[in-house]
Symmetry: none
Subunit: 412 residues, 2 copies
C-alpha cells in the first residue's frame, strides 16, 4: 500500500443531498419506495456517477446494482460494500443511502489514490431492504444469498396490487443495455456502513461503531378472550375482563424483561381492545410482542418464558400465544471485525463495539461470506423518521475506516 485514500467529506455530503432530492418530502425526509420510479432514478444517478469515473455497472435478476473496480487478479472474488437506496414511507436521508454512498466514495478515493488491489472491489445497492412496499424486506440480499427463492420474492404484491415482478421489470426496462450477472456469484468479504439508528455513539461522543453482530428477534402475537359485560352493573367477582388480564400480562412481561444492562429490547407495539366502548368490559385484547437480544442464550431463556408468563396472568380469561418470527443473533466474522478495528487504529479514529438492534442486508451476506458493519452516529438516535440526521464529519470518518478496511481485505 503506497498511499492512503483521501475521503472528500464535502463531496460525500453533496452526494447525500443530491440523492435525497429524489423522493424528497416537505418535512425534510425522503419517500423512495423500492422499485418505484424514484428508486429507478436513484439507481441511474449512481450508475452515471460510476460511469463518469470509468467503473463498470451491472445488475442481477433481483435488480441489485453493482459498481466494479477491477483487481490486479480480476478472476478473484471481489470484496464488496454497500447498502440500499430505498426508504421508509416517511424516511430520512441517511438510512441505506449512507452505506451505498460511503462505499462509492471509498471506491473513488482508492481509485484516485492510484491504489492497485489484488481483488476487485464492488459497490452494491441491494433491492428493497426496507420491506415497506413489498414484504418481507432484504429482498436483494436474501435472493442473492439464496435465503429466499427468487420466485417467492417476486410474487410479493404491494398495496396497489402491483407485483414485485412487474415493478422490477419496469425498472430494468429503463436500464436497457446494462450487464446482467447471476445471483450468488462468489464474494470474498462484505462490509456495510449504516447510521446507528440508536443513541449510543452520539452519547459516547465516538464517531464510528464496530458492529460485532446483529441481535436476535422473537416476535409473538397474543390474543386474550374474556366476556363483554356492562361496566356499571357487573361485580368484579363475575368479570372476565380481557383488558385487566392483558395489562397484567404486559406488566409481568416488563418485569421479566427488565435487565440492569439495558440490552433487552422489549416492545408491545400493537394493542387492540374490543369492543372498545367506554362502558363495556372488554371481551378481547390482541397484542404483539417484539423482543430482541444480542445473545442467543438470553433470547432463548427469556423468549421461552413468554408463553408461561402470559398464561400465569390470564386470570379468568383464555389466552393463546403464537410465535410469529424467530431469528437467531448473527455474529459477524472475527477476521472482518479485526480488519475494521485495525483500520480504525491505523487512522487514529476512535471506535466503540456495538451490536445492531435493527436487521440489515449484512445479516444475509454473513451466511455466505465473511461480513461486518460500521455504524456512524445519527442525531438523537432518530431514524425511520423525517427528522433523521447525521454529521458530515462522522459520515466521513466512517467512510475513512471503510476505505482502509476495503483495501486491506482486497489485498488479503
Amino acid at each position: 500500500m503506497t498511499s492512503i485514500p483521501y475521503i472528500d467529506e464535502a463531496r460525500l455530503w453533496k452526494r447525500h443531498m443530491a440523492m435525497a432530492k429524489i423522493g424528497a418530502l416537505p418535512g425534510g425526509g425522503v419517500n423512495r419506495p423500492a422499485l418505484s420510479p424514484g428508486d429507478a432514478q436513484s439507481r441511474s444517478l449512481l450508475a452515471r456517477w460510476a460511469e463518469d469515473l470509468g467503473f463498470s455497472v451491472a445488475t442481477d435478476p433481483i435488480g441489485n446494482l453493482f459498481v466494479r473496480r477491477p483487481g490486479a487478479d480480476d478472476s478473484l472474488a471481489p470484496v464488496m460494500s454497500g447498502s440500499h437506496l430505498d426508504t421508509q414511507p416517511t424516511g430520512g436521508k441517511f438510512d441505506g443511502a449512507f452505506g451505498v454512498l460511503a462505499a462509492f466514495e471509498a471506491l473513488q478515493a482508492i481509485h484516485e489514490a492510484g491504489i492497485v488491489t489484488k481483488r476487485p472491489i464492488e459497490v452494491v445497492s441491494w433491492t428493497n431492504e426496507e420491506g415497506s412496499r413489498f414484504q418481507p424486506g432484504c429482498s436483494g440480499s436474501s435472493a442473492f444469498t439464496g435465503a429466499i427463492p427468487l420466485d417467492r420474492i417476486l410474487a410479493a404484491v404491494d398495496r396497489d396490487g402491483i407485483s414485485a415482478r412487474d415493478a422490477l421489470a419496469a425498472v430494468l426496462s429503463s436500464e436497457r443495455g446494462m450487464a446482467m450477472r447471476p445471483l450468488g456469484f462468489p464474494v470474498a468479504a462484505y462490509l456495510e456502513c449504516h447510521i446507528e439508528q440508536g443513541p449510543r455513539l452520539e452519547e459516547a461522543g465516538i464517531p464510528v461503531g464496530i458492529v460485532t453482530g446483529i441481535q436476535g428477534s422473537r416476535w409473538f402475537a397474543v390474543e386474550v378472550l374474556g366476556d363483554e359485560a356492562h361496566a356499571g352493573t357487573t361485580p368484579r367477582r363475575n368479570r372476565r375482563d380481557a383488558l385487566v388480564a392483558a395489562v397484567a400480562m404486559v406488566s409481568a412481561l416488563e418485569r421479566l424483561m427488565l435487565d440492569e444492562e439495558d440490552r433487552v429490547r422489549f416492545t408491545v407495539g400493537r394493542f387492540e381492545v374490543q369492543p372498545g366502548s367506554p362502558n363495556t368490559i372488554p371481551g378481547r385484547v390482541f397484542f404483539t410482542i417484539d423482543f430482541r437480544h444480542p445473545e442467543a442464550s438470553t433470547l432463548k431463556r427469556l423468549g421461552d418464558q413468554v408463553d408461561a408468563v402470559c398464561r400465569a396472568h390470564a386470570g379468568p380469561c383464555a389466552v393463546t400465544i403464537e410465535e410469529t418470527f424467530h431469528s437467531l443473533p448473527t455474529e459477524f466474522d472475527p477476521t472482518v471485525v479485526a480488519a475494521m478495528r485495525g483500520a480504525a487504529e491505523r487512522l487514529g479514529v476512535r471506535t466503540l463495539d456495538l451490536s445492531s438492534g435493527a436487521l440489515h442486508d449484512a445479516k444475509f451476506l454473513q451466511d455466505v461470506c465473511p461480513s461486518g458493519m460500521l455504524f456512524v452516529p445519527c442525531e438523537g438516535g432518530i431514524s425511520h423518521n423525517e427528522a433523521e440526521n447525521a454529521k458530515p464529519s462522522d459520515l466521513a470518518d466512517g467512510t475513512r475506516v471503510l476505505a482502509e478496511t476495503l483495501v486491506a481485505l482486497a489485498n488479503a
Copy 2:
C-alpha cells in the same frame, strides 16, 4: 278508570324481534350505533307503528323521538315513558329497546282499552344513550333536561371524524316533515322500563324490580404522549413508551379501586394505541375510565385520586386527564316509587326494591320531573353482550306494571 289495559305479550315480543333485525349481528346481538343509518331505520319503524295507530310523532333539536296520545286536557304536561334504541357495538336485543317498546305497548293497550287520561301520555326514544359512538352518552336526555348544552353535545366526534352534529343532520334530513318541538318542554312524570343488567331479580325469581335509585358515576379520558421510535434499537432508558406508561397507570388504578365488598365498579373499556405497528414504540395511548359507586363519599374519595395516580405513573411520558362525566348518586321520586309499587300490588305482580348499577336517561329526567324505573330480569344478568336475553313473560309483567302506573300518574 273503567278497564285494565291488556298487554299483548306476543305482540311485545314480536316488536322486539323486528327491532333486533336492524343492525343484527351473526351472533344474535345487535350493532345499532347512535345516529347511524340503522338508528334512523329503527326510528322510522317506531314512527310507522305510531302513525298506524293514529298517534302523532315529533322530534327535537337533539333528535329525541316522541309519540303522543292526547289527554282529556291536552294543555297539561304529559306523563312520559321510554328509553333508547341505540345499542353497544356488540349489544343485545333488549337494552334500551325494551323501555321504548314497553312504553309503546302500554300506550297501545291504554288506547285500545279506550281509557281517557287527564294528561297526555308520550313515548320517548332518547338519542345516544350508550355513548359508544359519541361521548358522553345520554345525549338526548341531558340535552332535553339542560344538563349539558346542546352545542357541546353536537361537537362530539366519532372515531371516523364524523361529528354528532353532522350525523344528526343526516338522520333528521331523512325524516323531513316530522314536527319539531323545543328541548325541555314540561313533563309531569317520567317512567323507564329496562332489563336489570345484573343477576338479582333472576336469582330471587321475581319478575319486576322497583328501582329506588342509581349509583353515581365518574368518567375520565386519559391521553398519554411519548415518542415513536425503533423497537429494535432504542434502549429502555431512552424510551418514552406511551403504552408502558398507560399500562402502569391502569395497574395502579386497579389497586386503588380494589374493595373487599366488591361494590366499586371500575372499567377501562377503550384503550387505543398509536401508531399500532409491532416494531415501533407507541407514541400515544388514549384510554377511558368508567368508575361507579352507590355512595357519594366513596365516589369522591376514590375519583379524586385518579388524576394523581395517573400522573405518578406517567414515567417519562406526558399525560392529560380529563373528567368527562361526573354524576352523583340519584334517588328516584318517592311518589313515583309509591305509584309503581301500588300498581304492582293492584295487579298482583311480585316486586323487589333495587338500586341501579347502570346509568339511565331517567337519571337526567329526575332532575326536572318526578321519575322512576322498573327492571325486569335478564338471563344470567348478562348485558352489553350479544348473548343478552329476557323472558317474554317478564317483559310483559314489567309492561303491565308500567301501563297501570302511567294511567295512575296521567290522572293524578
